[in-house]
Symmetry: C2
Subunit: 143 residues, 2 copies
């Protein structure tokens, strides 16, 4: 795979789940369908569970399911659950001690703009639920 694979995998899987909310899916199923590894699936879906979007159950009849109605899960929920922080560098630059005394002002201003943009992105993502990202029919859902 490549970059943004987590977001892509999450979107993909949740979209399928939105069509059949009651069906219990195992990480092996999902992994095979997504062309990746069960452990990778559990890593990504684990984040979504921490955010309260999914539930998982162990044991014989275990697997993954939506934790709440599909129309109550927005793309922002997914984005935030994966804590990707696309635009604003996710942490703090350790303040590289530049000589320019006013440099910190500019840096702060840039961070402010990036943060603003990020907030706007999330706001935009909140307008779309996973039911909106779903084809009408799918053989995987029907099978």
């Amino acid at each position: 795979m490549k970059r943004n694979s987590r977001l892509s995998l999450a979107l993909h899987t949740l979209s399928h789940m939105a069509a059949e909310p009651d069906r219990m899916r195992t990480s092996a199923d999902i992994a095979e369908h997504a062309g990746t590894n069960p452990v990778v699936v559990r890593r990504v879906l684990g984040k979504l569970r921490e955010a309260g979007l999914l539930t998982s159950e162990k044991g014989h009849a275990g697997g993954w399911k939506l934790a709440r109605p599909a129309h109550e899960i927005t793309l922002a929920d997914i984005y935030l659950a994966l804590d990707e922080r696309l635009v604003s560098g996710n942490g703090g630059d350790p303040a590289p001690a530049l000589q320019c005394s006013v440099e910190s002002g500019l840096q702060a201003r840039v961070s402010e703009v990036l943060h603003d943009i990020e907030a706007n992105l999330v706001e935009r993502l909140r307008e779309t639920t996973i039911t909106d990202v779903h084809p009408s029919t799918c053989s995987y859902c029907a099978s």
Copy 2:
């Protein structure tokens, strides 16, 4: 440095240039001021030149300058010039040949949503010019 360093460096440099559009800056100057390497600076600024935001001149009195007025350069220009493509995976997944026949439909839909989000982000970025991202005074500009 770390992630988003290119965007940060570009914003930083262009913001300084916006204050003194006629001053010719060498990559060595910029690099020292930004705490990085001249080659890195030329790599990043080279992208901006390809996009028509900057001009560079070789030789003894060479260096970098804005190619057009600062108030006509938006954050979207910079973002697009660096072709970062934050949300939508920048290339094409080589179509991993999934068995699910309708899979391509969902994949297309997901790409569509991501693309839409990206477009919205760019639209938002277009509202801010580099003159807006600039502290009132700076020792570097004054020196």
